[in-house]
Structures are given as structure tokens and as C-alpha cells.
Amino acid sequence: MQLTEKHRQYWRRNLRLTGFLLVVWFVVTFVVGWFARDLQSLTFLGFPFSFYMAAQGAQLIFLILVGYYAYCMDKLDREYGVHEDDQ
């Protein structure tokens, strides 16, 4: 069997999206975590910024990442005709 060019394009766009979201994930967790001591003097919503990020901000961003991925992939599936039949 042979995949069409359209299929390959779908996969490339999926990889791009996945890669982009992973970069956000990495920055939010590890870059912010690495500089936690330098960021603690900033204040955000009444919290020290690094504490807020680890206790709340990061989770909310994770939730957005996962939701955004599901939304984009639904659209991408339809656009490239690889979506499942509606049940």
C-alpha cells in the first residue's frame, strides 16, 4: 500500500503541532523551574511568580495544551479526510 502526498502532509502538520506544544510544555516546566529562584521576587495575582507557576499556572497551561491539541487534531482529521465515521 502507498500513502498519498496528502497523508504525508497530515503527518507533518501533526508533528509540527506536537513539537510546538512540547516546546511550550518544556519551557513551562523546566525552564521556569530552573530559574525559579530568580523569578520569585516577581508577583503574580498576589503570589510570588515561581510559586504560582508550579502550584497553578503550569497545570492550567497543561490543560490548555491538551485541549488545544484535541481541538486542532479534530479539525486536521476532517480537513485531510482521515476522521472516523460518526457514531
Binding site: 512540547l22 523546566f30 525559579a36 510559586f51 490543560l63 491539541y69 484535541a70
Partner: protein, 695 residues
């Protein structure tokens, strides 16, 4: 039973669970009326725990099944929303429910590694695994390894790793079940374990994944209500705002201000704290002197010390008007005196360490990686990030979680259900840091500075139940409580919150039921993973592929029973520290599974040799590092780059990736059929224009 169509099924589910939630709230209200009428607490505790356990068993009986697809993957028709709740309950264990807020209370910012790790891992699940595993659509995780890499060796390694990490994890859960049942019903620990186990078994034994799924949804509802109600109350008490996640920024500010006052010896309160700390400092020096004398004097020194105690005890008894309490204390001192040099060294070292901590200033709650010098801070930062990494990758590799994504009807629903999972998990994980800060505020302002003659009632109640959870001693004999005089065990925070907030006993029983739901739901999922690996992967796929359905299910159920009894037996031996058990399960899963699973989807070139090399290499690296560095095993080798044994996965994961890549490149590319399989999992629906067939 005729299967209704999916939309009808979903609306039925919504109706049932809405009724159930309403019924549960009604039940709590009814019990609180009973409490007002004077029904004793112990009876209320029994009714509460008994009713919830009966409920789980009832759902198990209603969902009994003898259909293979129902037994292994709940018929693949669990809607995204409900699968999210089930993952939430599967995911949140006794450690999350009871331990997490306590860890945050005790270690402040540094404890947030668990919050970050246990939520961020779901990003990896969503992006790298869940949709592809759903499209693959078999029954277990070793199934995927077996089909993707071919041959029974990758599958066998998968089975071994799945059992190893699930078993490590399940022991921690059963331990939690025993602890809660024994504390709230007065049964002893062993009986508690077996009663809890009975209810786990009724559920998964009859209905497999189907029963476990619908029970987990019910358990999620109970555990989240139980966790959030007391925290809302506490938040209203201290801030007037019923949304603790928003309100606690202001409380954290006040806690930080309190920390500064208590650490500053020029203020009256700070001066009293300093006085107590100086006493601990003296004790610490005395302990260290004793340790030094032990090293040089050995056995003779130990005997001398014991003689001194015996003599003091005898003198006390000979005296005319000796206080009976003092005699008892002296008797105990003789009785508990360490028997040999090694145990004396351990006991005294622990005491010196405890005193050293008490002699130091209060660590700031919001400060990341606090430490006296740059080296300590740097070490803490490295360990924090390593732990976060291990927990995240481990989340995306634990078979009992990944298995749940086989149960949704479509790939699309699998993606959505990761979102709902993270949503339902976050409800609890956003509340835990708020609870820790609110409880700390309560202790720092209401308990510190109060007089020993009128302690808050929850303090004396818990101090009399278990002194390792709560104890206050007037070290400097001024009759006033100082912060350094309070010792709090982490588990206390969640267990005592209802009393700290001034809620009736019913809510305490509710929290116990929530903790039990958390432990049972996770244990259910884990035991099913273990027995499915054995019955499906080992028996059906490797020993007897022609086995009829009835025999397969019979074997699955028999193995479940065996695994449960064995796990309960191991638990009753009370091995190790719970947090270490849980953490090591994550490191093991991360090193063994993640590289082979992720590269299996994203890199077509990955082949059998690579997978074997990566899985064995990762797992071995992780196990060896734990073995040589965790004190329990007694090797005590020096740490690599100061990384604690709990984060052993930080070495296992790269070794796993390197193994897969090098092993694959050194040997031939996988065959055509494997490449077709990879394409099959990458596209939600390829049949539209191309026909693929996958076994």
C-alpha cells in the same frame, strides 16, 4: 443484554451518575442529621465506610460480564467525559489524596515537584501515546510492544516491567487501605487489609475492566467531594472567600510575614522561638558527642551507658516519694535502649538529625530550593527537576493509566478524554497547595502562641491518637506553644482538616471514605493490569493461542485472586516507605516503557533489537541505581551527580532511548508489515481510501 446506541448510552450514564451524586449528598446530609441526634462517632464511621464499600461491590455485581471485550476494555464504549473521571480515580492514589497536601505543608515549594509531575505527564500522554494506542486498539500495553516489534521477547519484557511497576505501586495502595480502615473502624491493620481487598475483588473479579470503570467513576465523585468540601470551609473561615484556589495568595502572604516574625529574635515571639531552638541545638550536640563516643568506645561504651540508665532507674525506685510517671519513663528508657552498636548508631543518628532540623530557622514556604549555601540550593534544584521529569515520563508509561485509553469508542474521544482526565485530576491538584497554605496559616497563627492549658481541641484529639502525626511538648517550660515545639506528620493535614475547620464528625468520616475510594480505585486498576498481563499476554498470546473464551476469562479471574492474595501478604510485612515505593514505580515505568512506546509510534526505523536493548538497558540502569543507593538495600554507594534514588529514572530514560536508537541502527529496518502497522496507528481512519488489515 442488548447494547443501546452510543448517544442513548451517554445520556443514560449522565442520568445515572447525576442521580448517584445527588443520592450521595443526600446520604451525607442524612448522616449529619443522625449525628445531631446523638449517634456515636464510631457507628457513623462504620455506616459510612460500610455503605461506600457495599456500593462499589454493588456496581461490580451489576457490571459482571463474561464477554472478552467487556472484561478487558469495557466494550470500548466509555465516553471521553466518563473515561476522564475513571482515569482521575485510577490515577489519584492514597498518596495523592492523603499524602500530597502534607508533603506540601512540610516542604513548601519543593513539594510542588509532585503536583507538576503528576499533571504535566498527561501532556505527554495526550501528544505522544493515547490517540495512537487507541487506534492500535488491542487489550494491553505489552500487546502493542508485541505487535510493533514482533516476536515474544519484547512482549515478555513488557509483561515483566508492567508487573514489576504495578506490583510496587499496588503494595503502597493496599497499605493505604489497611491504614484507613484500621484507623476509622478500630479493626487491626491486617484485618483492614483483607476487608478492603475483599471489596476490590468483588468488583474486578466479576466484571473486569467494565466493572472497574463504572466503579472508578463512582469513586471519583466521592473522593473529589470529600477533598474539596473541608478546604472550602477552611478558606471561608480564614478569608471569607469560598474559592480556596483564588483566595490563598493572600493567605500565603500572611504566612510569609509570620515566618519572618518567628525567625526574627528581636521580636518577643521570635525570641521565644530562638530559646527553643537553642535547646534543640544543645540536644543535637549531646547526641553527636554520644555518637562520637560510640564510634571510639563501641560495645563497652554502650554497656556503660545502659548501666547508667539502669542505676538511675533503681535509684528512682528506691527513693520514697518518686513520681510514678518518672519511674515509668525511666523503665521505658531502659527497655528501649538499643541492643547493639549498629542499632544504637542508627537510632542516635536519627535523633541528632531530628534535633538539627528543629534547631534551624523556619524554611520559607514559597521559597524555591531554600538552603544555607549555593551548593545545597543547586543540589535541591537538580533533584527537583529530575523528580519532575521522572514523574512526568512515568505518568506517560504506567500501564494501568495507558490501558484506560483503549476503552474509548474512537481516537477522537481518546484525545478528548485526556483533556477530561487532566481536568478532573487538576480539581484536586490545584486544591492541595491551597490546603497546605491554609492549614499552615491556621497552625502559625492560632496554635503558635496559644497556651498549653487550652490547646485547640483537634490538637489534643490527634495527639492522643497518634503521636507521630501530632505532638506538642513544652520544651522551654513557658506554658506557651512555640512553632519549634510542634511536630506534625504529613498525613495529618488532610485527615484533620475537617476538625481544623470546625466541621462535624460526618465530614471526617467523609474524608476517610474519600481516602479509601482513592486507594481502592487505584488498587483496582493496578490489579487488573497485573492479572491481564498474565492471562492475556502470557497465557493467551504465548502459551495457548487457541484457548476458548471461557477458559481465558477463567484464567484471568483465577490469576486476579492469586495476585490479590500475594499482594496482601507482601503488604502485611510492611515493607519500606510508601512515598519511595510510589516514586520508584514511576521511575521503573519511565525507564522501561516510554522510549520503546514513543519511538514505536514516531520512528518507523525502530526495530526489535532496538526495543529489547532499550527496555532492558533502561530498566536495568534504573534498578541498579536504586539498588546501590537506596539505604534499605544496604549498599550505600555514592550518588551520581547528587541525584536521589527516587529519581533513578533520570538515568534509565536516556539509556532506554540510546538503546532503542543504537540497537535499531545496528540492525536491519523492520519489515513491511510493521511499517504498515505504524501507518495504521498514525491515522485515525485510513480505511477511507486505503485498505489496511491489522491482526
Amino acid at each position: 443484554m442488548a447494547k443501546p446506541t452510543q448517544p442513548r448510552f451517554v445520556s443514560q450514564l449522565k442520568r445515572y451518575y447525576a442521580l448517584y451524586t445527588g443520592g450521595f449528598i443526600g446520604f451525607v446530609v442524612l448522616l449529619s442529621i443522625l449525628e445531631q441526634m446523638g449517634v456515636p462517632n464510631k457507628i457513623l464511621g462504620y455506616i459510612f465506610l460500610g455503605m461506600t464499600v457495599l456500593l462499589y461491590a454493588g456496581i461490580g455485581i451489576l457490571s459482571r460480564t463474561s464477554d472478552v471485550s467487556e472484561y478487558y476494555v469495557a466494550g470500548r464504549r466509555v465516553p471521553a467525559f466518563f473515561n476522564g473521571m475513571a482515569v482521575g480515580a485510577d490515577w489519584m492514589s492514597a498518596a495523592s489524596f492523603i499524602g500530597l497536601a502534607g508533603t506540601l505543608y512540610l516542604s513548601g515549594y519543593d513539594g510542588l515537584a509532585f503536583v507538576l509531575g503528576w499533571t504535566g505527564g498527561f501532556v505527554l500522554v495526550a501528544l505522544l501515546l493515547a490517540p495512537y494506542l487507541r487506534k492500535f486498539g488491542q487489550y494491553t500495553i505489552p500487546d502493542f510492544l508485541g505487535a510493533r516489534y514482533g516476536g515474544s521477547l519484547p512482549r515478555s519484557i513488557g509483561v515483566f516491567a508492567a508487573i514489576l511497576c504495578s506490583f510496587t505501586y499496588v503494595i503502597a495502595q493496599i497499605y493505604g487501605v489497611g491504614l484507613i480502615t484500621s484507623r476509622f473502624t478500630g479493626l487491626d491493620f491486617g484485618t483492614g487489609v483483607f476487608v478492603g481487598l475483599g471489596s476490590i475483588l468483588v468488583c474486578s473479579f466479576l466484571g473486569g475492566m467494565r466493572a472497574v470503570t463504572w466503579t472508578q467513576v463512582a469513586q471519583y465523585v466521592i473522593l473529589v467531594i470529600a477533598y474539596i468540601i473541608p478546604v472550602i470551609w477552611l478558606s471561608v473561615k480564614h478569608t471569607g472567600n469560598p474559592i480556596p484556589q483564588v483566595a490563598y495568595g493572600y493567605v500565603l502572604e500572611k504566612v510569609t510575614a509570620r515566618e519572618q516574625v518567628l525567625n526574627d529574635p528581636t521580636t518577643p515571639e521570635g525570641a521565644r522561638e530562638a530559646e527553643v531552638r537553642a535547646i534543640f541545638k544543645q540536644r543535637q550536640s549531646a547526641e553527636e558527642a554520644r555518637l562520637k563516643a560510640l564510634e571510639s568506645g563501641g560495645k563497652t561504651y554502650l554497656a556503660q551507658e545502659k548501666n547508667k540508665l539502669v542505676k538511675a532507674d533503681e535509684e528512682l525506685k528506691a527513693g520514697r516519694d518518686a513520681d510514678p510517671k518518672a519511674i515509668k519513663a525511666a523503665d521505658n528508657a531502659v527497655k528501649n535502649f538499643p541492643a547493639d552498636v549498629a542499632s544504637a548508631r542508627n537510632a542516635w543518628r536519627t535523633m541528632a538529625e531530628a534535633d538539627r532540623v528543629k534547631a534551624g530557622p523556619i524554611a520559607a514556604h514559597a521559597e524555591p530550593f531554600a538552603g544555607p549555601d549555593e551548593a545545597t540550593r543547586d543540589k535541591k534544584r537538580k533533584n527537583f527537576l529530575a523528580l519532575v521529569m521522572c514523574l512526568m515520563v512515568g505518568t506517560a508509561a504506567l500501564p494501568h493509566i495507558l490501558m484506560r485509553f483503549y476503552t474509548t469508542p474512537t481516537v477522537r474521544e481518546a484525545r478528548h478524554s485526556v483533556f477530561w482526565s487532566l481536568f478532573f485530576i487538576s480539581l484536586l491538584y490545584l486544591t492541595a497547595p491551597a490546603l497546605a497554605v491554609l492549614a499552615k496559616y491556621d497552625v502559625y497563627t492560632l496554635l503558635v502562641g496559644s497556651s498549653f492549658s487550652e490547646l485547640p481541641s483537634w490538637v489534643s484529639a490527634w495527639a492522643s491518637v497518634d503521636s507521630s502525626l501530632m505532638s506538642v511538648t513544652d520544651i522551654n517550660h513557658d506554658g506557651i506553644v512555640q512553632l519549634s515545639e510542634i511536630t506534625i506528620g504529613g498525613d495529618l493535614i488532610v485527615l484533620a482538616t475537617p476538625e481544623i475547620a470546625g466541621l462535624p464528625y460526618v465530614i471526617t468520616a467523609l474524608v476517610a471514605a474519600g481516602g479509601l475510594a482513592a486507594a481502592l480505585s487505584t488498587a483496582d486498576g493496578l490489579m487488573l493490569t497485573i492479572s491481564n498481563s498474565l492471562s492475556h499476554d502470557v497465557y493467551y498470546k504465548m502459551i495457548d493461542p487457541k484457548a476458548p473464551t471461557r477458559r481465558r476469562l477463567f484464567i484471568a479471574k483465577a490469576l486476579l485472586l492469586g495476585v490479590a492474595v500475594f499482594a496482601a501478604y507482601i503488604t502485611s510485612l510492611k515493607p519500606g516507605d510508601i512515598l519511595f515505593l510510589v516514586g520508584s514505580a514511576f521511575s521503573l515505568a519511565a525507564s522501561a516503557f516510554f522510549p520503546a512506546l514513543a519511538l514505536g509510534v514516531f520512528w518507523k526505523r525502530a526495530n526489535k533489537t532496538g526495543a529489547i536493548l532499550g527496555m532492558v538497558g533502561g530498566l536495568l540502569t534504573c534498578m541498579v541505581y536504586m539498588y546501590i543507593t537506596y539505604p534499605f538495600f544496604g549498599v550505600n554507594a555514592s550518588l551520581w551527580w547528587d541525584i536521589n534514588p527516587i529519581s533513578a529514572g533520570i538515568f534509565g530514560i536516556p539509556v532506554g532511548f540510546a538503546g532503542v536508537v543504537l540497537g535499531s541502527l545496528a540492525t536491519d529496518a523492520p519489515d513491511k508489515a510493521t511499517q504498515v502497522l505504524v501507518d495504521h496507528v498514525r491515522y485515525p481512519n485510513l480505511e477511507r481510501d486505503i485498505k489496511t488489515k491489522v491482526a
